[in-house]
């Protein structure tokens, strides 16, 4: 574009062009975010469907020990090979996804709900309520996550009970911090002030006007937390204190292959790869949702 034509343009035109460019870039980014969410959701859907229809896929039972087929490398009949007892690793990996995804979903959901409630209360009411709740959160966050969960498992004994108690107890604090920060903003918004001015009782302003608007950062974070909890579950059973054998579980499957690492690499490698695929799928959904909702996740830090 020559300098003459640029000068001839009216300022409004330039401004309009710049605005269009910014709007278009925003649209492009949102479109990209939708694509990411769709890809993640598609991968996750395939995994869920596969694990739900597993009994009808013609795979051997996850518990069937076939001593004629011990430590066979991956093939068409056994996509992930077989383990040292002749069990089909792919069938076991799919069977494990019910337990892993289900438990991870449950503990993430529990942490989310507890954190939402206490974070909203702390942010809205302030004062003593705020101090008590947030100091509790500080203490929970002062322990490394895995250490706190291990301490709780040492009391409840190995197994899923410790996971169900320990993870929410350690995990609610991050959600509470996120929600409190959001509530501090929402509390001062016009409609909340209007509700106060109209003389509604405080609990009503809280429950009907402020609280319904503070869930976004916590829910966005919960998707990343879901991935972390899946890894945590696998880690705990790898360490021998999570889900107990013979129930198929991802971490336990990976651990099964540890002593056969050199002569049967697939027992450890392939279930782990499956976990990574599931984790990536959920992370993609999380990243996309974070971008679409425009949530600033810095408070986690």
């Amino acid at each position: 574009m020559s300098a003459v034509t640029a000068q001839a343009r009216l300022p409004q035109e330039l401004l309009a062009a710049a605005t269009r460019r910014i709007v278009r870039r925003g649209q492009r980014e949102r479109k990209w975010a939708r694509v990411i969410v769709a890809v993640g959701a598609a991968i996750l859907a395939v995994v869920l469907v596969l694990s739900l229809v597993r009994p009808w896929l013609g795979l051997p039972s996850p518990y069937l020990q076939d001593f004629a087929q011990v430590q066979r490398p991956p093939s068409l009949a056994h996509p992930f090979g077989t383990d040292n007892l002749g069990r089909d690793v792919f069938s076991r990996t799919l069977a494990a996804s019910r337990l892993d995804l289900g438990v991870a979903f449950a503990v993430t959901g529990t942490s989310l709900v507890i954190g939402l409630v206490f974070g909203a209360l702390a942010g809205f009411f302030g004062g003593v309520v705020d101090t008590v709740i947030m100091r509790c959160a500080d203490v929970c966050l002062a322990f490394p996550f895995l250490v706190l969960v291990l301490v709780i498992i040492s009391i409840t004994g190995p197994g899923l009970k410790g996971v169900f108690i320990g993870v929410p107890l350690a995990g609610w604090a991050v959600y509470a911090r996120l929600t409190r920060a959001e509530m501090l903003v929402v509390r001062e918004r016009e409609w909340v002030l209007a509700a106060r001015t109209l003389g509604f009782p405080t609990w009503r302003v809280f429950a009907r006007h402020a609280a319904p608007h503070v869930w976004r950062p916590a829910v966005t974070y919960s998707l990343a937390d879901f991935v972390l909890n899946i890894i945590l579950l696998a880690t705990l059973s790898y360490l021998g204190v999570g889900a107990q054998p013979p129930r198929p579980e991802w971490g336990a499957l990976i651990a099964d292959g540890q002593i056969h690492l050199l002569d049967a690499w697939w027992i450890t490698t392939l279930p782990g790869l499956f976990v990574v695929v599931v984790g990536v799928a959920i992370s993609l959904i999380g990243d996309g949702v974070a971008e679409l909702s425009g949530t600033d996740m810095k408070v986690v830090a």
């Binding site: 500080d138 203490v139 301490v151 990243d287």
Partner: protein, 311 residues
């Protein structure tokens, strides 16, 4: 500044006291009778009562707590249950160095890789390079650290035999050699977090007024990046350590178990399996205090380094 320091110190002190209280109440009260655990289920009642008296377990709970804290401060954390003759501190003591080395080593890898890559991703925002970094980081984030550790073991120790199989080695060089694969395994999970934070803080700096002003003055792009933007986003990366220390400690606990490193993490897991409550108590407090201290240090450092932050 002084007021900030005092407030921050009081807060840290409060959290440390709360950590000790929570640990004490959780483990001591819910964890079962230590005397019974030591003597076993078949021991006669009189022996249990005698040992309870010896251990001070028949005294009121607040007295027990005070005794326990007094012990903690002087480094005496009682005796282990599963390794009966040895004290908790004699079990923990020699395991601090291996863990500290592993944490330092993996932190070094994570920052050396993470900071340049994060800056690169910010500069190439929404272009191919940024997308590639994001995809790789997302995949690394979803990998369980123990699985990465096992694969590294398979590839570099069993197949290529470049690195020792497990353990801690002897001498400083031996330690470094043994800790290389574990440190890479830990860094695998931490680096994506570092990249993400550095990218975000760099983007924020790049959109600041002074960068725009430098661009308007027609300064060369590299000069703006390295002299103006980079210097200003170094500071937020200092505070990263405070954010990631918890994750870093959790990851070392896992990875130490994969590589059989005689550190605090493998002691914690074996103590949990053996219900060795005095050791669990001591380790939980130690881990908590480390997190609080690192957070305190990074906060103070942040204020001390940045001339704009004056409280």
């Amino acid at each position: 500044m002084a007021r900030f320091l005092i407030r921050r110190l009081i807060h840290a002190l409060f959290v440390v006291v709360a950590i000790s209280l929570v640990t004490f109440l959780l483990v001591r009260q819910a964890g079962g009778d230590p005397a019974r655990l030591v003597l076993g289920a078949k021991a006669p009642r009189t022996a249990v009562v005698t040992l309870r008296h010896e251990l001070g377990l028949d005294r009121p709970i607040h007295e027990q707590y005070v005794t326990w804290v007094k012990g903690l401060v002087t480094g005496d954390m009682g005796d282990s249950i599963s390794n009966r003759p040895s004290s908790v501190s004699s079990l923990i003591g020699p395991r601090i160095l291996p863990s500290a080395l592993l944490i330092g080593y993996s932190l070094l890898i994570a920052t050396v890789v993470g900071i340049p890559v994060g800056i690169y991703a910010a500069v190439r925002k929404n272009r191919l390079g940024d997308h590639v970094v994001r995809v790789v980081a997302t995949m690394a984030f979803a990998m369980p650290a123990f699985w990465v550790g096992l694969l590294l073991l398979l590839l570099f120790s069993l197949q290529l035999t470049i690195f020792p199989l497990a353990g801690y080695g002897s001498g400083f060089i031996g330690h470094l050699e043994s800790l290389t694969l574990p440190a890479i395994a830990v860094a695998f999970s931490v680096t994506p977090l570092v990249i993400r934070s550095v990218r975000a803080s760099m983007l924020e700096t790049l959109s600041a007024d002074f960068v725009e002003a430098a661009e308007a003055r027609g300064l060369a792009r590299p000069r703006i990046l390295y002299k103006h933007a980079l210097r200003n986003s170094i500071l937020p990366t200092i505070t990263l350590l405070g954010v990631f220390i918890g994750a870093l400690l959790s990851l070392t606990v896992v990875v130490e178990n994969v590589f059989a490193i005689p550190g605090l993490g493998s002691l914690l897991v074996s103590s949990v399996q053996a219900s060795d409550f005095p050791v669990i108590e001591g380790l939980a407090v130690l881990f908590g205090v480390v997190v609080v201290m690192v957070n305190l240090l990074t906060d103070v450092l942040y204020v001390a380094v940045d001339p704009r932050v004056r409280l």
